[in-house]
Amino acid sequence: MLSIQNLTKTYPNGVTALKAINLEIGTGMFGLLGPNGAGKSSLMRTIATLQSPDSGKVIFNTIDIEKDPRSLRKTLGYLPQEFGVYPKETAESLLDYFAILKGLASRKERKSKVAEVLQLTNLYEVRKKQVSSYSGGMRQRFGIAQLLLNDPQLIIVDEPTAGLDPAERNRFLNVLRGIGAKNIVLFSTHLVEDVKELCTDMAIMNQGQIQKRSTPAQAIKELRGKIWTKRIEANELESYKDTYRYLSSAFNEDHSLTIRVFSDSSPGETFESAPVVSLEDVYFNTLHKTAEEHV
C-alpha cells in the first residue's frame, strides 16, 4: 500500500507543482491521468526519492521514504519520462551495470536475471546491440527491463507511451500488463487510452491536485445517462461551449461536428443521450470542473 499524505512542492521559480496531495494506492495498475504540466512527473519523482517535498509524507508499506529512501529504492522500479544511456554499450552490459547498482551481488544470478528481463521485454535477440541504436519502443522496453532487475514491488513509469507508434505502444503495454498483477504499478499518462486498456484504478490530476480518484468502471458508471451528443455546424461550436458543459467534439464526414456535453438531465430536445460513456468523457468532465474552479 502506497500512501501519499498532504504532499506539497513549490519550485524556486514559484510554480507550485503539488498542492497538498493525498492518495492511497493499492496493488494493481494505477493510472495517473492528466494533461502536460499537471504535476504528474513531480509527484512521481517525489515518490521515486529523486526530490524532496516541502511538506507531506509518502509511506510505502511501512517505509517513510523521506526518512529512509534506501529501503524504498531496494524495492522500487522507476522509469523516468526521458532517459539516456551510455553510448557504445550493449543492452546486456548496461543491464549488468544496473544490476550491480541494484545490489545483485552474484555474477551468475545477475546473468540469469538479465537474460530473464531481456526475454520478458522481448529484447533478448538484440541484447548484443547498442542500446543507443534502439528504436523508441525498444528503448522504452529496455527501460522496463532495467526496472525489473530488482523484482520491485513498487513500479513507477512516467509517461512511457509518449511518442510510440501504435504497434510499439501495444507491445509495450503488454509487457507492462504482465508485471502489474502482483505489484503496485503507478503509471502516468496523458492518454486516456492507456488507462482504459490497462488500469484497474486511476486518478485524474491537474494543476497540482488530484481532481478525481476512482476506478475506471466506477467513473464511467457515474456518468451513465449524463452524456449527451448533438450534430452541429463547426461555426456553432463557440456558442455551444458557452451555453453547455462542453466535453469534446469530433468531425463527421460532412464536416459537421458531433459534440458531447455533460448534463444531469437532457439539455434539450435536439440532444441525444450518448449510447456509450467513455473514459474520455470522465477525463474531460473532470478537467472542465478544474477549469471552472479556476475561472
Binding site: R45, Q146, K182
Partner: protein
Amino acid sequence: MFKAIYLYELSSLLKQPAPYIYAIVFFAIALLSMLGTGGYFDGVAETDEVVRWLNSAHEIGFVFQYFNKFFLFLLPALIGMVIYKDFKHRVHPILYTYPIRKLDYLLGKFLSALTVVVFITFSIGIAFLLGEFILGQENPMIGPTNYGGYLSAYGFFVLPNVFSYGLIIFSIVATFRNIYAGFIAVIFLFILQVLMDNLFAAYPILYALFDPFGQNAITYETQFWTLAEQNTQAIPVWGMILWNRGLWISLSLGVFYLFFKQFQLEQETFRLFPGIRKRIQTKNGPIQASQQPEPVPAGLKLSRMDFSIRQELKAMLKLSTIDLRFIIKNWLFYVLVFLGILALVFALDRVTNSGDLTYLPLTRIMLSVPMYFFSAIIVLLTFIYSGMLVHRSRMAGSDQLIDVTPTSNWVLLGSKVLALMQVQVLLLLLLLLCGIGLQVYNGFYHFEIGLYLFHLFLIIFPTLVIWAAISVFTHTVMPNVYLGLFLLLLLWLGKDQLPQLGIESFLLRFNSAPQLVYSDLNGFGHGLRANAMINTYWLLFAGMILILSYLFWERGFAYTVKERFKKAISSLNGIVLFSLLSLCFLFCFLGMEIYQEENSPLKTPGNNKEKLKKFRADFGKYRSVESPKITSVNLDIHLYPARNSFLATGSYLLVNKTSRDLDTILVKRGYDEITSYTFDTPARLIQEDSGMQFAVHVLEKPLPSGDSMRMRFTIQNRANTLFYQNSTVLRNGTFLRTDILPRLAYFWDVSSSTPTDSLAGGANFYSPDADLVDIETRISTHPSQTALAPGKLLKHWQENERNFFHYKTTEKIKFAFAFHSGIYAVDKNKYKDTDLEIYHHEKHPYNLRDMVEGLKAALDYNTHFFGPYQHQEVRIVAFPHTQGTYASVMGNAIPTSEVRFVLNNKDVDDQVNLSFYVQAHELTHQWWGNQLVPADALGAKMLTESITEYLSLRIYEKYFGQEKALQFLSFQRQRYLRGRAKETGAESPLYLVEPEQAYIAYGKGAMAFNTLRYHLGEEKLNSILNSFLQKYKFRTDRYPTSLDLISHLKEALASEYHYIISDMMESIIFYDNSIKEVKELTDQGVEITFEVKKLDASLVNELAAGGVMINFGQYDNEGNLLRVDSLGAFASGEHKTTLLRAPRSKSIVLDPLLHFVELNIDNNRMYLK
C-alpha cells in the same frame, strides 16, 4: 545574419558568470604576481647590481608567455563551448533547418566567443599597468612605462595565439562534437612545444620557427642580450618572430578552411573518414525487433540482493572497473598516452644528452624530468576524467535510472575515485615499462625495479590520489564542468607561485611535498620523512574533501543551494560525522606538528640583507685587522652516519707572521655548527654577534712577531629538523669541507682589491687566515664505511666497533680540506710513482677508465712542462649530487660529484668527454692554483682557471685530436657569450675578473691563451708560463696577481703579439670580421675580400685595429678542415688576399680556429662553387 548570430551569442555569453570569473581570476593572478615579484609584500632588496625591470618589453613578453598558456584553457571553455552547446542541447537539428549561411553561423559563433576571450586577456594588461602604478617609479624594478612593449606582447603573441588556437579548437570541437576534444587539443599543444624543444634542440632556428607559442622565437632573437639591453630594447618582431607567427596563423586558417569545407549544417556529424562510418552503420543497422507477439512469462524468479558492506565494496570495485573501461576504451586516451610517451622519450633524451653533461639513463634520471613530465600528463588526465566520470550519468541522461537504485552514494563516489586511481596506476606502470624499455634501448641494463616502484608508488602516487580527490570534489560541487576544470588548472599551476606571494608554509601549499632528490650514494636522504609527512597531511585533507563530496553528491534533484546543504546535513550521520571529525583531528594534529617543525628553534636562522647590513656596520672595522695565521691543523673527527651527526675536536697552531705584535683574534664559527674554543694564552671577548657566529677577542698579552700560540676547539653539528638539513653528515657519502671549522678572519668583505693595490700581493686568494698548512687528522666512522682526510694514510684500525683512520700531509697544502665517509668501491691505478685511487659507488664503474686517462694525461703534460706533482697520490672521491654536481681539488683529493661518474662518454661525437676533461682540469690545478696560489685581488682566476682551462684544452687535443679540441673551444666561446648575457653586474676584462664571473675566467680565458699559443707555439708559451710558475711556486710572502702575469707575458713576447693581450685580457673587445666576397680565379686561386672590424663592449662603437693576424680555413662538404692559411697583419677595413684553393674545398671560413671573440660568425663563411 552574421550580425544577429554574433550579437545573440555575445550577449548570451556575457549573461553567464564564467567570463567574469575568468577575467577577475586572471586580473588577480597577474596583479599579485607583479606585486610579489616587485617586492610589494616582502620589501625591495637594495642592490647595486643592474636589476631586471618588470615592465620592460622583454619582461612583459616573457611573463605574458606564461599567461598565454593559461589563456589556452579558455579556448575550449568559451570558444569550443559556443558551438558545442548547440549539440549538447540538441538545438542543432532545429537550427540547421533555418536558412542560415554556414559561414555566418560559424563565424558569428567563433568571433563572439573570441571577443569575450580577448576581453579576458586584457585583464592581465590592465593588472600589469596597475601593478606598475602601485609599485611606483621609485621601485628599482620598474622602468618607464612601456606601452610599445604591451602592444607588441598583445599584437604578436597574445592575440595571434588566442586567434589561431581558438580557430583550431573551434574546428576540432565542431568536428568531433565533443568539448573534451578541445581540452585535449590544448594539452596536445603543450606536448607539441616540448616535442619541438627536444626535436630541434640542436637547431635553435627551427625550434624558434616551430614553437607553437612563439616563445622561443623571442628567445632566439634575444639570446645574447645583456640585462641592460633586455631592460631597454624593444622585441625585434620583424625576424624570426614574424615567420613563426605567420606560420601558425596560416596553419590555423588552413585547419579552419579544411573544416569549413567539410562542415555541413546537418544533424549527423560528418566524419573524417566517411567510409568507415558507413560500414559501421550498415553493420549495426537500424534494429528491428521480432514482430511476433511475445509470450508473457508466468512470473519472475526473485533476485537476491545483498547490501552488506562487503558486497558494497565489491560493487564499488566492479563499478570502478566499468568506469575504467569507459576511460580507456576511448581513443582520446590512447592519443594522449601516446603523446605522453613520445614526450617522455624526448624528455629523457634531453636529460641524458643535454648541455654540458651527458648522462647514462640511470633509473633516478628516468624518474626525474621525464617522470615530472609524465606525471603532469597524469594530473591533467585526472582533471579531465574526473569531470567526465562525475558528470557522466547526467550527461548521458541516465542519472535518474542510477539515482533510484539502492546503491549508496559512497559506493558511487568511491567507484569514481577508484577508477581514477586505477587509471593512474596503469599510467605509472606504463611509465615504468617505458623507462625500462628506454634503458634497454640505450643499452643500459642496470635496472632498479625497487627504486622505480618506490618512487612511483610511494612518492608520486599519493600526490596523484590527492589530485584525484580534489578533482572529484571540485566537479561534484561545480555544476559547470569547464569552470571546474579551469579552477583545478589554476590550483595546479598556481600553487607553485604561492612562495612568491610570501606563502611558504607547507601547511598552506596544496599538495606540495618538499622535492626529493635521489642519490645513488645516499638514497632519498633526509627529506623522505618530511615528504611522507606532508603527503600524509594532504592525504588526510583529501579524505576530508572526499567526505564532503559524499555529502554533496548530486542525487536526484536539488533546486537550490540551500536544498543541497539541507540534504548534505541530513546525510551527516554518526559514522560520517565521526570519520570527518577524526580526519579533521588527525589533519590538525599533523598540521601542528608540521607547524612546529617549520618553526623549529633548531633551524639555522636565515641570513637576510638587513642582518648582514647591521653586522657590517658593527664589525666592518675589523676588515683589515691583522691576526696570527693558521699554520698547522690537528683534528679528531668522529662521524656518526646513522645519526647524521659528527663530533670533532682539534687545534690550530697560530703564528704571528707579521713584524708587529698582534693582540686581536677574530673568530668566525661554522655557520651550521655548534663550536666552542679556547686559546692557550688568556684572551678577552670584546664583541660578538651570535647570529653571524662571529667574535672578536683581545689577547691579554700581545703575541710578539714570530711567536706562536694554540687554539683548541670542539665542533658538533646542529641536529637536523624535519625540513632543514643542518648537518652535512649523510647516511652514506658524507662530504665535510672547511666550512665546519672555525676561521680567523673577517669574511664579509664586499669588494676584492685590485691587482694594482700594493698590499694585494700579501694576501692569499683562498684563505685570509692561512697561507699553506700541515694537517693531521684522526677520523672515525661507522664500521662499514671508509673515512678519508687530506694527506697520507698512516694507520687504520678498528676500535669499539668503529673504523679509525689516521692521515697526515707530507707537503703543506692550502686551507681547503675534504673529509669523506662512505661505502666505496676503490679503483686503484698507478702513474709512475703516483697512486691513482678512485673511491666510488660500486654501481658506478662506467667512467673510471676515462677519469684515469684524464689524470694520466694531465700528469704527463704538466710534469713535462711545469715540474713534478707535489703529492704521492691522487684520490678521486665520489660525493652525492645532492651536495653539488661539481668536482674540485682539495689537497691530494679531487672530490667529484657522483653525477660525474655516470656520464655517457661513448658515441658522443658532438660532446666533450667530460670524465676525462674534468679530471685533467682538476689535476692541472695542482700546478695552477695549488703550487701557484694567486693573490687576493681581482683577476686571481685568470691565473688559475684561465691557464688551467687552456692547458686542459691542450691535454684534450693531445688525446682526442684537433677537431675535438676545436669543438671544446667553441663551447668556451658560447660559454663566454651566454654568460655575459646573464651578467647582472658589469662585465670585467679578464685581468680584473671577479671570482664569480666564470664565463670570463674559463670561457674567454681559454680563448685568450689559446690564441697566444697558436701564434707563439705551445713550447714557447708554456715555457713562459713555467718561468712564471717557478718564480711564485709555494711562495707565501708574495702572491702573484694577474698584472704580474701580464707584465711577465709582455716582457717575454715580441710587441707584435701584444694586441692579443690587450684585446683579450686587458679590455673587452669584440671583432666582427667578415668575408665580403670570394672570387675564384682560374689558376686554383681564390681571391677573398674581407673586412676587419673591431668593436668595444657596447658592440656599437668601432675601434681602430692594427697588426691583426688572421686565418682562413677551407672546408670540404663534410665539414672537414682541409687547410689553414695564416695571414697578417691587418688593420681595420677591407682587404683583399689570394689563397690557393685546396682540392675538394667547398667553403672558406675566416678565423676557423676561433682566435677572435666574435658575436656574429655567420658572416665569416662563404661557399665556393
